[in-house]
């Protein structure tokens, strides 16, 4: 039987991040991936001949320079488009609002008062998010075992805020669990920006802007997406290939097309894995970088786990609510406000529109006017034929358990989004060469993520920090010796930032030392 120090299950970007770091520290690492390519939900696939389109995730906004350096990604070919990614807010019966560089720059043509309110709100949210970042980028303390560390971290953060002025701490404690709608309303920002922030705060989470705690999603975005929004040269597949190549260069062994059937546990200890092909591979440490529900439910099985944690894992809300529409277009469509570079289009005209789109999802229905974001490829993008383009659309509030069924739902959703796009770019429907609709059940099937959730499990306050994925396993350790977990379902959550992979690798190195 072959044997490794650590077996990583899943070559998503977090699994590859951890494998890379462990290999750099001299470990013998094997990465097993079910599909034929690296990247999991963050890669691209060929939708039509010559069209490589981001399958699910379509930007690398969360990946910071420190991580890129630590993994040697630049050496493995990761490059970013030099131009910042502008955001174009599509508005019915009005000119679009253009943010040339995400939230970063002043908004051209916006009046002084509105501009100031916008900058003030961003300033205070960014300040608070920067303090949250120290928690996001490290392993959550376990309240039971290391209460001292928890107190120390909390104190450090409180001190930082206190030093910035005593009202900052009070302000943070007041705002942290507010509805996003109330935050933007009291800041009196432009209603178009209020719509954008409401959308950004709630995309991928089953809340509306008027739901309590919905501002958390915005903090997460701000804390993980510092600096400029980034689009990788060559698309998501190129970025994931860089992760793969960097891992190989670090010494990790990758095997694709090798799904794992189960994690072998003997007397409470991990001894290795068995692949679907029946091959047993030994390792004292296994890092499962897939959905924690799949890890515990399918690969480990509840028979070797205690009832309490099984109960907690089963209560993770895994049902996704984002549908991905991928469009291969024969011509690059024109949208007012969009230039030649890659562009982010957002349809979320106001807080009311975002909230109204959320309401039906509670009852298993599709919104009448869905809100969405879309990435329009740059003119001259190499991942599509010359003169062509792709549009990669994430539509929110599309519930996993659609009452009318997804067979009808896919058609209805595509139709309503196309009608909306047609409104802003007449003729776009005719340019469609190929299209696919990946509803949550499709994402579940294709990526082996129970529920088809972006974050592998709801990213809400009851499942964050030391409760993510569940209390007792938030330090990336499963309650089985030698078994570790990372990925979107663990702290801090989804997004292409590699943080859970980084944290988990650190924990593994700390445990074997």
């Amino acid at each position: 039987m072959k044997s490794f120090d650590t077996i990583v299950i899943g070559a998503g970007h977090n699994g590859m991040t951890a494998a890379n770091l462990l290999a750099r520290r001299g470990q013998k690492v094997l990465v097993l991936e079910a599909s034929q390519v690296p990247g999991g939900m963050a890669t691209s696939s060929e939708l039509a001949p010559g069209y490589s389109i981001p399958s699910i995730a379509h930007s690398l906004n969360g990946l910071d320079d420190k991580t890129i350096a630590a993994l040697g990604l630049a050496g493995a070919g990761l490059r970013f488009e030099p131009d910042p990614l502008p955001t174009v807010c599509l508005l019915p019966a009005a000119d679009p609002l253009v943010l040339p560089n995400g939230y970063a720059a002043p908004i051209p043509g916006m009046a002084g008062g509105d501009q100031k309110n916008w900058q003030d709100l961003l300033g205070s949210l960014s300040f608070q998010a920067a303090i949250l970042k120290q928690f996001i980028a490290s392993t959550p303390p376990q309240p039971r075992e290391r209460s001292f560390q928890l107190k120390a971290e909390g104190l450090k953060a409180a001190l930082k805020m206190k030093r910035a002025g005593k009202s900052e701490l009070r302000e943070f404690l007041r705002m942290v669990l507010m509805p996003a709608a109330d935050v933007v309303q009291e800041a009196e920002i432009d209603r178009r920006l209020a719509g954008l922030l409401s959308f950004d705060a709630t995309l991928g989470i089953a809340v509306g802007p008027r739901s309590p705690t919905s501002i958390l999603g915005l903090y997460y975005r701000l804390a993980t997406q510092t600096g400029q929004p980034r689009v990788p040269v060559g698309g998501m597949a190129a970025a994931m290939n860089a992760f793969h190549q960097a891992g190989v260069a670090a010494g990790a062994v990758f095997r694709f097309g090798t799904p794992v059937r189960r994690i072998v546990v003997d007397g409470g200890k991990v001894t290795g894995v068995v692949t679907e092909g029946g091959e047993e591979i030994g390792a004292a440490t296994v890092l499962s970088a897939i959905s924690p529900v799949a890890t515990f439910g399918s690969l480990v099985g509840s028979r070797v786990m205690d009832t309490g944690i099984v109960r907690d894992v089963r209560s993770i809300r895994t049902k996704g609510n984002v549908t991905k529409l991928n469009l291969a277009l024969g011509l690059r469509p024109t949208f007012k406000g969009a230039g030649n570079g890659a562009t982010r289009l957002v349809f979320a005209p106001s807080v009311d529109d975002v909230e109204r789109a959320f309401n039906p999802s509670k009852y298993g229905e599709l919104p009448e006017a869905p809100c969405f974001e879309a990435i329009l490829s740059a003119a001259g993008d190499q991942s599509v034929p010359a003169g062509a383009a792709y549009l990669s659309v994430s539509v929110q509030n599309t519930p996993y358990d659609l009452r009318s069924g997804w067979k009808k739902g896919r058609v209805a959703l595509m139709k309503s989004v196309m009608t909306r796009l047609e409104q802003f770019s007449p003729g776009i429907a005719k340019a469609v060469v190929a299209a696919e609709t990946l509803a949550p059940p499709d994402i579940e099937e294709r990526y082996h993520v129970p529920g088809g959730h972006w974050h592998h499990g709801e990213w809400q306050v009851d499942r964050l920090f030391f409760n993510r994925p569940v209390f007792g396993a938030a330090n990336y350790r499963a309650p089985i010796e030698g078994l570790f977990i990372c990925g979107a379902g663990t702290h801090p959550g989804g997004g292409v930032n590699g943080l859970s992979g980084l944290n988990a690798a650190r924990e593994i190195l700390g445990a074997v030392r």
Binding site: D266, G267, G268, G301, S302, R303, V304, M305, D306, T307, G308, I309, V310, R311, R314, G472, P479, I480
Partner: protein, 401 residues
Amino acid sequence: MSMKAAGAASEFWRNPQWKSPFHDRIEALMTERHWYDWAGYAAPEIIDDAELEYFAIRSTAALFDISPMVKYSISGPDAEQFLNHLTLRDVSKLKAGRVQYTAWCDDDGQVLDDGTLFRFDDSTFRLCCQERHLPWLMDTAFDYDVTVREETDEIAGLALQGPTSAALLRDAGIDVSGLKPFQIAVLPKSLGRGHISRTGFTGDLGYELFVDRKSAGALWDHLWQHGTLRGLRAIGYHALNIARIEAGFIVANADFVTSETALRSNRPRLPDEIGLDWMVDLTKPHFNGKRAIERSRQSKSRREVLVGLEIEGNEPAQHAIVYHAKRREVGVVTAGIWSPTAKRNIALACVDARYETGDNLWVEIYALRELRYHKLMKRARIVERPFIKLPRRTLTPPGDF
């Protein structure tokens, strides 16, 4: 659970206690009218005379209604594996027709309850306990081919305890001469569908009978009829409690706080902290709390121990504080009585584990004498449990008294 026992549901609020199938018979005998709440049922504390009731246990025969005991039916191909996951002891070693005293823990190794596990055949069990656990059992069972059902109000139970109990049963047409301790036999069909086991909570010769609810009244009457010449007396919990302390048995939420009912996070106990360490079978591949118990043993983090105390004098030490060298507070008495059979002042106590073997232990008893407290500081010695050992408890065939 249905509310059949409570009568008309609309009137339930007037007296929100269920009635056991023996309620009317007990009520007819009861002169003390002293009821208490046992898991939602009205249960007798004293029927007519607590002392005579106690001496019925030790000298003749006593009949105690155990119908309120929480009972779960557990059956299916995976029942044994499921129970091995749930409980501390190895269920594969429990043969069909036998009973096992056992306990179960949560993920942190903290005891959820103790109870008795009856194995009727390979795949059919009954678990009897103090607290209700259906959600925990169902969540443990979810990956096993097993059916878990609460049957508390469907099955009536009677404990028949005392030296003349075997002879009484023989007179009543139930042959228990070959029945060994912890063994189960099927009741004669004429008495209804049910079982008899040589088990009990008194440390004496004794049996427990379980029948379907509709046969309950007839079973009571049948035993009662044959009990006249055997000194049979219906008893309440007061008498039983004295007997169980003498036998050294613990009661959940009296001698320890169960994990699910504790309000304070430091109150639940590991098996090792309440004298149940002998149950923990670490050779089993997995069971709930195994990892936590192993870790606690490795790190020697056991905080408390449950011990038997013999205390000088004759004043019961119920809930007294235990001191070391009369000064340092090191524990509390959970149950204290003057033992009529041992003729000693005995107690069960939770004590700081560092004083497990230490002497120089004292208990401070506040004795109320006509509205004035007499503070007694009495010497306490840690002694073996049980406090009394009766050969007749285990003798097979049992004595013919």
